[in-house]
Symmetry: C4
Subunit: 262 residues, 4 copies
């Protein structure tokens, strides 16, 4: 078990750094995952820029977002975003909260985010829009109280991504790998939608296309392929590339079966 | 012959990594080339991000997109895009399928992609628009069945680039070097067309200008010059630059003749 | 005291390089801070691109913007921007003058810069607009004379950021770390506002939200977290990352207290 | 004399690589300078991507754009752009021809490029617009014949930058350093003008402001400061930074005088 936990903390640190390296996270935002063997807990870094998160920064939290073993370091203020979603959605095992430059224009203008290409279909049927002011009036916009987290989780409902008015987005996944894929490709989709909007009429995927394309792209094969890509890019950016060139072994984790495609 | 094949696999791997390094490919998309001595086969990587493709990842496929010697690794799902174009167009020796951020806005809005500067003239006379829904209704948007590949190849017709509705583009070339040139410069042209559209009226090249500029820029000289440039940039990005500075030898492959210009 | 001064010169050099590394400063612009023990002086580099500033480049100036110990090197021409603001605003301890690509469009079009997300709330209540032509007619746009600096300082008034017509912006902070945070996040906010404008109606934060979010984000915790992040990114860009990996010690300066959040 | 020539070839190679490193040049385009001691000749690289140009690539050409000592390597096709401008404008000592992504939208849409901030004032009074079709009808858009170069030089007239319809721009300077400054900052100005256009009304500098700001920024001090900055950035990008950290000596070339500013 301790082995599984070590591995989870290692992967979670990589996911934080990978998503930051792709420009979706900056000094703020966070990626978490449910504890690999105890569904009543989740793993989250102490407060620091996600691009800097190391395995040992990841600590255990209860679903009420209390740290299990108190530490002598600052914690993220918006833990309840994660805790309340894990509570409400047992099938969710990873969550990312971010302020990506391509997503914010939607949060500011109220324009609806739509899947505009197959990889953006991972948005799912709909990305609901949450305005904390509806429930709580004028605040500092930070989602720090349990009731604020619960309100956001209700807005997310059965979907996979929720836009937060003048703040950012929160994305969920059934696995850390799926979450990483959805987080990055929904941000890419948003950038393309803005550019398409500038050219004229945006024609999004149909509901059926969205469902089929999302299903197709979230299979283990494409998800592992994207993870390997972002992982090698991270290694390059960190200068770890030259010292230890990514070997085929890096790919072994998800042993591919012969004859499967894409 | 084995030597020619080794060289082809090496160049194909570089083309994949170069086009990715220029931001046209990301975790998805693929570059292939026709087998250097057997026109009934083509070379394609096993399934992985194109930025990671190594020479030994490139395997042989029949034009029906079946692997010649089955391997114990995942294959790309959209092989038929390549196979069906090689079948339909004997003069095509290299194909790239991608989802470049500057091209997608055209695939989403339906705006016509036009050559707006001499290097973009490599689009050719026209970049037709293919909507898989016309033939196949709602799908996952992936071109995986032979009939889907054949439909796309028909849409490409005698042209060199086809836009795919809410999906991406497929580009063809008579050589791998020409393909690389066309793939990157059509993506650059698209970005410029969007910006020009924002400023006012887009005034594209005339048909005659397009033909003349395309012919001029696709001569061996300009194509080799661009290849060398992207190749050195790739070496820098991979950290291979410092170890082995690009010497003049790198340029020898296409021995320049005295007095020729540009 | 000499120790405090050395530390200040070191931090000021880092702030110059960090803000440049984030794309807000280029060959021009400058960051200064008030002398750590003598409020009648400020520290500023000799004239060079801020990305190149080293601790020993930082010299002492009186609030009349005269160098204390003359040196054999070129000085910045726009020193009075800093000196006049330090004179007018005793609580200001750091100033940045820049020409960020995302801010200039506001300076050129006259569009009002508004806080559009919580991190942009650091703009404060308002970013006034200064047009030197009102007081001085046609000039070379450079703020080099004491009366020009004083005019700009009056336009800034009690606020934290002033836009300068067809020129750039000047940002103030109570500490160097706060200034760095405000400078970078107001530039990010500007980029998001432009994109949101393209999508439709820009809906900014309310006055109360702005006040609360600014207060929240400028606490020592978030400010130190962002500083660490930009600092590590600078180390990576300078190649210092591999030689000396950022240890936890880098974070010690602002010893976090247990139980505090975000 | 041979020493002056060696130095010129070295500086010219750096200017090519610096301008490319700043994203203004890609695989195509070129920077040249007049021979340092023989005004009837100019120096230009053999045909290769400007980012790759080394000192020994630079050869001598007559003002009729014939190479002085024929070499066994491909030459640029558009030499006459440079030769004809050196003929027509004795005070011009450096020329850059490029296809920068921020400039092309103006060449495509016909929108007038205007100085919108002090550094962009280096455009000068006006950037005329040349359409080769007026004199030569439909061509491949390449300026390769002496009469085409002469036509372009006439369009440039007494100005410092000429936009070329659906092709790019040509920029001139009295020194290589001034040319580098004007080339990069006019491209930056163009990007800002596009963004300002998106926000509403573009309000450019007045004629007097343009003249004063251009004069101010093209003095040796600012020009040397920008050159040092781009030069160090190039060293970083080429990995030469770590081996040989830029010392103060790098700055000595243009010995600053005490008391001079900016």
């Amino acid at each position: 078990m301790s082995n599984k936990l070590d591995q989870a903390r290692e992967q979670l640190a990589r996911a934080n750094r990978m998503i930051a390296n792709e420009g979706v996270l900056d000094a703020f935002g966070h990626v978490t995952m449910r504890h690999p063997t105890d569904p009543g807990r989740y793993l989250m870094s102490r407060s620091r820029g996600p691009e800097l998160v190391q395995p040992e920064d990841n600590h255990q939290f209860t679903l009420d977002s209390e740290i299990v073993k108190p530490i002598d370091a600052r914690l993220y203020g918006e833990r309840v975003i994660h805790g309340e979603i894990y509570k409400a959605r047992p099938e969710v095992n990873a969550v990312c909260h971010h302020h990506a430059p391509s997503i914010l224009p939607f949060c500011i203008s109220g324009m609806e985010l739509k899947p505009v290409y197959h990889l953006g279909a991972t948005i799912g049927e709909k990305a609901p829009f949450w305005d904390g002011r509806d429930d709580f009036g004028d605040t500092n916009l930070i989602v720090a109280k349990p009731e604020e987290g619960a309100s956001l989780a209700r807005a997310l409902g059965p979907y996979w991504m929720v836009l937060m008015r003048r703040h950012g987005a929160t994305v969920a996944g059934t696995t850390l790998e799926e979450l990483t894929f959805r987080t990055i490709y929904t941000a890419r989709n948003a950038a393309m939608q803005i550019q398409a909007h500038l050219l004229g009429t945006v024609s999004p995927l149909t509901a059926v296309e969205t469902e089929l394309a999302s299903e197709y792209n979230l299979r283990p094969g494409p998800v592992a392929r994207a993870w390997e890509y972002w992982s090698v890019r991270l290694d390059k950016a960190e200068g770890a590339h030259r010292a230890a060139k990514p070997s085929r072994r890096a790919n072994k984790r998800s042993k591919p079966k012969r004859g499967r495609t894409r």
